[in-house]
Assembly symmetry: C2
């Protein structure tokens, strides 16, 4: 309570918004800080740029509704896992894709690809859908106090998706698979590519394709999961399994 109360909200710093020790919020974020949180010069606030930077600021001026802060301190990779997680999801319906984004972003995903699979029964996501998912992702970064905005795309096919993967161990969810725990135990590298099928699962040719691209198949347990539950469960399980290694490394 009082002048210096910090809003329990992270604001968004667009690229180019930081010049020297000055950070300027855009109109919408300024309005949110000044109107909703009733900040005035002297109020501390923080902003992330989606590229790993968190700026701890104090509001300097609020002229014409533009919030300008003085950057007291810059923090790098706050809330980040310290390794990359590329999540490949067989394209489900739009609501399911939003569910994946809403949970996977706070759980630390680095990149999300909603890839058209044989059983997707729909075309890849268009620009409007991707923009909507991007806004959801930005909101998830702010709420979860992460600092990196995941990239979201929608590949036209599974083969296109696996032709362009970053480095990392590769796991795909399939009822025929082994246990993630056993597979992860063998791995020193923490960067990972996780794949789950579309509703109905991967087809046999798709499973062959994944195996030929060095994916290990992983069973998520005895019940049948939707694509979105499987994606969240696989991500949460992997994150939990390797967190000790990652924390030790700090």
């Amino acid at each position: 309570v009082g002048e210096a109360r910090r809003p329990d909200t992270t604001f968004w710093a667009e690229s180019g918004s930081v010049l020297g020790e000055r950070l300027t919020l855009d109109r919408e974020e300024s309005r949110h800080l000044l109107r909703v949180h009733r900040a005035h010069p002297g109020t501390p606030f923080e902003a992330v740029d989606g590229h790993g930077n968190t700026y701890h600021c104090v509001l300097e001026s609020a002229e014409d509704g533009n919030a300008v802060g003085h950057v007291e301190r810059r923090e790098v990779d706050r809330g980040e896992l310290g390794f990359t997680v590329h999540l490949l999801v067989g394209l489900p319906d739009p609501a399911a894709a939003e569910t994946v984004v809403a949970h996977a972003v706070p759980l630390g995903v680095s990149a999300l690809d909603f890839a058209v699979c044989e059983r997707s029964g729909r075309h890849e996501l268009g620009d409007a859908r991707l923009e909507r998912l991007g806004r959801l992702a930005r909101s998830g970064v702010k709420q979860s106090r992460r600092s990196r905005l995941p990239a979201i795309r929608s590949s036209r096919s599974l083969s296109a998706a696996v032709a362009d993967l970053p480095s990392g161990k590769r796991f795909a969810a399939d009822p025929s698979g082994g246990l993630l725990r056993d597979e992860v135990g063998k791995v020193e590298e923490l960067d990972v590519i996780l794949a789950v099928g579309p509703p109905g699962g991967f087809s046999d040719p798709e499973l062959d394709l994944l195996r030929s691209h060095q994916f290990s198949l992983i069973s998520l347990g005895p019940s049948r999961l939707t694509s979105e539950t499987a994606a969240i469960a696989l991500l949460a399980s992997y994150r939990n399994l390797v967190l000790p290694k990652s924390l030790r490394a700090i």
Copy 2:
């Protein structure tokens, strides 16, 4: 394709619907089997009763829109984890509670308690809400090919919730905690009680209460998670960690 094609759907067998080798679906489920799936005598189908039984049937008659099947085989605990998971969630808003049910049921939860916590800012769920969540849970059991319907309740306070817990190791999510992996490693018992706070987290007195009731505090990682994401992540992570032990036991 053809006469004997089995619908890729599990039907619901109300208690009392099985007499000897005959299973009678209720009006709604009958309509679904006969109209939507166009079943006729000879079509195989399966039904679960929510108490662990899956009935593999062949449709015998469809008079007056009532589907009656001949039970060929009864399967026990199909899709079940083999241990109990009691999930205690600090009461969030109704949409978040529905999200928890939608994901936690396929992931094998046995019981769910949306308990009013200091920061819940709302009263416990009433009968109408609980009924709605119960319908969602039933749908989740059918879709995930589980066979036991989780119990759902809403305790008036955290102290009421922890005063009435089943046996099992106890873990509560809190940023101050240790790693689930390390804690679970020490445990032979698989039955578990998992707790996550309401939006805003558990208060300090609530954390004291949980500790005094033998809850170990668990960190879910470096980012801030909503109650629903935390609940799903904790459940998925625990399930994944102990699945090997559980599968070995079979």
